[in-house]
């Protein structure tokens, strides 16, 4: 199965199978179709399709979202196949080329994947495309057989009426002559055959288990030059000079050139290994006068000191800071805590890379596990002085991202384009990052400090909650600022707190931005990655002070009856039930709970731990999720499992630290990923729902850390306010 595509490849595909019917949305966003044959050189430009049906009946779904493991190849395919009644096993998939209008993410108006929006924004769009094709094929069959559309049935890629039958390909010539229904009827939930079915096999199941799945890292082109970049070891450092005398002795080394951005040296060679070896032999001098030269110890200390000052910004419009303070001042009990969470790297398994390939006609192809064509495409075109239609993006499977591949500057594609241009622009250039580059390269989840002051009444009820976040803004100074910063407040710094579901009588959330040359970025679940930890650990601290059960304590603040609160309460109750919350555990065992809404989905987790001579082991995780209609239940479960693992690994032992501005973690041994032996059984329970589908890629992450911390606190009684846990008094088995 070929899964990369480009306009040229679409044409090649036709050449192989003759004619095909293309169905998609035209520039006005209206469904349209065209039949094309490569031999006739049909003009495909008016239509970048969503669905392609070849004359042999093969259905190809064109995916506007890339696949980084989150399951879009399966999810988007399900949406079309459901309405089209196609044969699941015979559907091919292709990644869409860059087309910012037709393939835009309807959630943010640009072509790109992120914010756990792929299924949510495609749910109606892809189903509609599938339903339109089905209606068209039914009309074509009816006309051909002299019957009425109601007499025609479609099942598993076959169109039937009585003893007559045809596969889709046999009908496309007739279908092309008929008008597409403008508003095809979509199935109702009771008519679903695929949506909600657990037994669907992932579309990327075969090629990812036999070595044939292609990642951009696997691209090799004739005469390709390999490049690595020797970057400034400190963030914000600039190049003064460098020496290649020793590198010249490395076999395969070609040359080295200063990047025009002055933040690195592009090192070129005839193989990846030669490039890596040559880079080690290059000596460079850097100007660090504007660089981040501090250590994280100092940065952390300053974060904590800033917490004690009045917040620069207030994140809640209806906030009454004085009222909150008064409520806490007059409370009969107080809970006060200061939290410090570290910088985190994303560390996707596939180190970043990007290939720029020139063509004789002056065009270039960008080979990339491209998360955000809407940014990468114009960025590369601008650097190379090309018109947008001279730049083609070929999207490959991405070996993970967790947010890292979507940067406002398209950082690694920018590097690749600059390195390509610097090398003369005649030969393909493959830019490769190593794991060392990845961990030292910045774009970290920012460090975050939080102070929490909670007042409790004599009945143990929360009377006021005063919160202050100190963290570096992810989006200020980027094109995302306009959408995500309001009244100076970067929403991603306070999300999940300022808009928390809990009904707190007086809640104020202050924010002070931290400023540093360290590049920071969204990291799977973005702000929720720190706000959920602090909010949910604080809830347990408050419950303990109030001498109440943590589950019941949470439910007390979710009683108003609004849908948001009901859904969060729903997953908490289900998690407590499935985890047998009230059932006593053996000695040395404990449970913790946390719940959080993010990306439209509600997740609760109960984590069970055991302690052996003080060494903590995670025995069991029970996770409940309400994400609206569960399009692919098994993918949702996988995303919860993966999100839990990602969150737990980080909280247990991951941090990026700086020593005089230098990143101290070099490779996985210093940034140890979660391993198979770290975690016991994970059970995922999905709440049945008729609501529109919401995110699943990220929402599994936020509750995992606090659920673990709450379990450990239940066992030891010691508050866990600093992360990672292994550096702050917790030993793991």
């Amino acid at each position: 199965m070929t899964i990369q595509t480009s306009r040229r490849n679409l044409l090649k595909g036709i050449a192989a199978t003759g004619t095909a019917l293309f169905i998609g949305y035209n520039t006005n966003g209206i469904l349209s179709h065209t039949i094309a044959n490569a031999a006739e050189k049909s003009d495909l430009t008016p239509l970048n399709p969503f669905v392609k049906i070849a004359i042999d009946g093969t259905v190809t779904i064109i995916l506007k979202h890339f696949e980084m493991g989150q399951g879009t190849t399966t999810g988007l395919t399900t949406l079309v196949a459901e309405e089209l009644d196609a044969d699941w096993d015979k559907i091919a998939i292709e990644f869409a080329p860059a087309d910012h209008e037709k393939y835009k993410n309807l959630a943010f108006g640009a072509q790109g994947t992120g914010g756990s929006t792929a299924i949510a924004n495609s749910y109606i769009q892809y189903r509609t495309a599938g339903a339109a094709v089905r209606a068209l094929l039914v009309q074509a069959a009816a006309a051909k057989w002299g019957l009425k559309p109601k007499d025609i049935s479609v099942e598993k890629g076959m169109v039937r009426a009585g003893d007559k039958s045809a596969h889709f390909g046999e009908l496309i010539a007739d279908a092309a002559k008929l008008p597409l229904p403008e508003k095809p009827t979509l199935k109702t939930a009771d008519q679903f055959n695929l949506i909600g079915k657990t037994e669907l096999f992932r579309k990327d199941n075969i090629d990812k288990t036999d070595g044939t799945a292609l990642f951009a890292m696997d691209v090799k082109l004739p005469n390709m030059v390999y490049a690595v970049i020797l970057r400034s070891p400190r963030f914000g450092g600039t190049l003064l000079s460098f020496e290649t005398e020793k590198a010249i002795k490395i076999s395969g080394f070609l040359n080295a050139k200063a990047m025009p951005t002055k933040d690195g040296i592009a090192v070129y060679a005839t193989s990846t290994w030669a490039a890596i070896s040559a880079r080690k032999a290059i000596e460079a001098k850097w100007d660090n006068s504007k660089a981040e030269n501090r250590s994280t110890k100092e940065i952390g200390k300053t974060h904590l000191e800033t917490l004690k000052k009045a917040p620069k910004l207030q994140a809640r419009k209806d906030n009454d800071f004085e009222k909150t303070n008064a409520a806490i001042a007059s409370a009969s009990k107080k809970v006060e805590a200061e939290f410090l969470l570290p910088y985190l790297a994303h560390a996707p398994m596939e180190p970043l890379n990007c290939v720029i390939e020139p063509h004789d006609n002056g065009k270039v192809t960008v080979h990339d596990g491209c998360q955000f064509p809407g940014l990468v495409h114009p960025t590369v075109a601008k650097i190379l002085g090309l018109k947008p239609d001279q730049v083609e993006i070929k999207t490959y499977y991405a070996g993970g991202s967790f947010g890292r591949r979507a940067t406002a500057k398209s950082d690694y594609a920018t590097e690749a384009a600059l390195a390509f241009k610097l090398q003369g622009g005649k030969k393909a250039v493959k830019l490769v990052w190593t794991r060392e580059d990845d961990l030292a390269g910045g774009y970290f989840r920012p460090m975050a400090a939080h102070s929490v002051k909670i007042g409790l009444s004599d009945k143990g009820e929360i009377s006021g909650w005063n919160h202050h976040v100190v963290s570096q803004s992810i989006v200020k100074g980027t094109p995302f600022e306009k959408a995500l910063v309001k009244d100076g407040v970067d929403h991603t710094s306070v999300e999940g707190l300022a808009d928390a579901e809990y009904e707190i009588p007086a809640l104020s959330v202050g924010l002070t931005d931290w400023v540093s040359p360290v590049p920071v970025l969204w990291w799977r679940s973005v702000g929720h990655s720190h706000t959920a930890y602090v909010k949910e650990v604080s809830m347990d601290l408050a419950a303990k002070a109030a001498e109440k059960d943590p589950v019941q304590f949470r439910l007390n603040y979710l009683k108003s009856g609004n849908k948001d609160q009901k859904r969060l309460a729903g997953v908490i109750k289900l998690a407590a039930e499935k985890a047998e919350w009230s059932k006593p555990l053996p000695k040395g065992w404990a449970r913790g709970i946390a719940a959080h809404k993010s990306f439209g989905s509600y997740v609760a987790q109960v984590i069970e731990i055991s302690s052996n001579d003080g060494d903590i082991k995670i025995e069991r995780v029970v996770c409940t999720v309400d994400c609206g209609v569960a399009v692919n239940p098994d993918v949702i479960k996988a995303q919860m499992e993966g999100g839990i693992g990602y969150g737990l690994g980080a909280v247990m032992r991951n941090q990026i630290t700086l020593n005089d501005g230098l990143v101290e973690q070099e490779n996985f041994p210093d940034y140890e990923p979660l391993r198979i032996n770290d975690i016991g059984k994970i059970e995922v329970h999905i709440t049945p729902s008729v609501e529109a589908p919401t995110g699943v890629g990220e929402p599994g992450v936020p509750p995992a850390g606090p659920a673990l911390a709450n379990a450990i606190m239940a066992l030891t009684g010691k508050p866990l306010l600093k992360l990672p846990l292994n550096e702050n008094g917790v030993d793991f088995a």
Binding site: Q70, N205, T209, G211, S271, P348, P351, F668, I676, I682
Partner: protein, 153 residues
């Protein structure tokens, strides 16, 4: 230097600097891209291949040391254990991003070739060198058990 390596049953002559790790010979010279580069320091297992049937990290393997060996990559897997493992991986939808899975499968095949009925503990010991940032561990464990029971049946 010029060496002849037996990879997936075929002798391949390659001419590379002598310090080139086996991983980069496999990927850049022989275009067998199923074997992945993840860390370069034998800490993630994405580059796992079999040397005479045993899982080895190719990023830390000197080519001179394997000139007389039989090297197998994911592309060269064959036999009932390999098939059982790959089928189990597919049946249980183990993969997510997929980048580490060639290495996971090579390690799992290595385990089941020596231990036909591994316990959770055996699996954890054999597989803990293979990192998966998507955290597909629970399904990996289940798929190894499934493959073992299918092989036994």
């Amino acid at each position: 230097m010029s060496v002849i390596l037996n990879i997936n049953g075929e002798d391949k002559k390659v001419d590379v600097p002598e310090d080139t790790p086996l991983l980069w010979v496999i990927r850049d010279e022989l275009n067998l891209t199923g074997t992945k580069f993840g860390c370069g320091v034998a800490a993630c297992g994405a580059c796992t291949v079999h040397i005479n049937g045993k899982p080895v990290r190719s990023c830390q393997t000197n080519i001179q040391d394997v000139e007389q060996s039989k090297i197998t990559t994911i592309e060269g897997l064959s036999g009932e254990v390999s098939k059982a493992v790959q089928d189990a991986w597919r049946d249980l939808n183990v993969v997510q991003c997929g980048y580490c899975q060639s290495g996971q499968i090579m390690s799992a095949v290595g385990l089941l070739s020596e231990n036909t009925k591994p316990t959770d503990q055996d699996i954890d010991t054999a597989m803990q060198g293979n990192a998966c940032r998507c955290a597909t561990y629970q399904r990996i464990r289940a798929a190894i058990h499934l493959a073992a029971s299918n092989l036994e049946a």
